[in-house]
Amino acid sequence: MTTDFYRRDRAQHPAPYAPGYKSTVLRAPFRPLHALEQTALDKTGPALGHAPLGPLDHDLIRNAATTGDALGERIYVFGRVLDENGRPVPNALIEVWQANAAGRYAHVRDGYLAPLDPNFSGCGRCVSDADGRYLFRTIKPGPYPWPNNGSDWRPAHIHLSIFGEAFAQRLITQLYFEGDPLIPLCPIVNTIADKSAVDRLVARLDLRNQEPFDCLAYRFDIVLRGRRQTHFENRPEGL
């Protein structure tokens, strides 16, 4: 429990100040981050992934349904939560939120003219199992316009919030969908300088894991920070 986590490799993350995404201009700190040693507090975290969830929390097609299933392309999003050492992270809590199939959020502040879906809230949660595997079922969100450089368009995306075992692993991100032509045009995606890092935010179509005659599947693996290893430890298999 006391081993430190690897330092965050900030080159793998978006730049805080990225003027192509205008909201960063007044919200990015001017001063560099101050590096600290990790304390025991940073190396532990809330056990949110050990508490029971609601039975439909992982099923966004049904969890806000009133008259029937949510409208849209039915998909599974699944994958594994691993740490940087390639070890599964069990009991990771994954919270997701997304727009509906038309690109509209069920949120008081979203004024996009596309219609709401009375059977869809866009809110879900799931927990990874002992092998780090997770799965939720949803509809593929639509792209939507937003005011930035005039009308920019977000590629279809799902927001994910992840808790591993330690506060130092905390992460919020977004997943995109393979083949979406809007990905390279998106100012938010482009806050990440490294194209191979962007590629790791793209969920891959996985036909083998479809539900036949029901629902497509997209695979998205998540990597959280890992703890420093001693040289005496064996490399995990399958890397």
């Binding site: 101050h34 969830l53 740490d83």
Partner: protein, 188 residues
Amino acid sequence: MRDRLLETPSQTAGPYVHIGTAPQSIGRPPLINQPGPVIESNTGEAIVIEGTVLDGAGAPVRDAMLEIWQADGLGRIGEFGLFGRTVADFSSGLFRFQSVRPGAHAQGHAPHVALLIFARGINIHLHTRIYFPQDLEAMEQDSDMKRLEPEARETLIAREAGRNEAGLPVYRFDIRLQGAGETVFFDI
């Protein structure tokens, strides 16, 4: 040659973070076991921590989501650690937690609360700490605090701000994202 996997890159939480992390704030029912702004613990003095996240123009960040993680009043972490989550008020930008004043969780560290800030325009969450004015002596001995310039240290110390209607002591902690009085943010 690197023999590790690379951490998944961060992306902004965006303006609709409430849907997935605080549905009650947009009028939807909370989910089971969903963390919120009120932390119940009988291990210490109950307190309120409130403040505003301010941008580089001094305007409140009204779409921020904030999380705290701290030792309990007895300085215990791990399974006794306390976690809370809140969102800024849609009109004023004020955020508020109810918790207990933390005990010291390690030798050489003054009691503090770890605080994360997420918002539209924040591409990777910001990590800071809240210290309390009663712990000035412990801060003198705190190796992390000792390495900060006095004005930087000042940005991490909550200010006593009276009591609320329920009689709980209120601590004010404003966060300045950018420019004059900029809060110290950490790489931990």
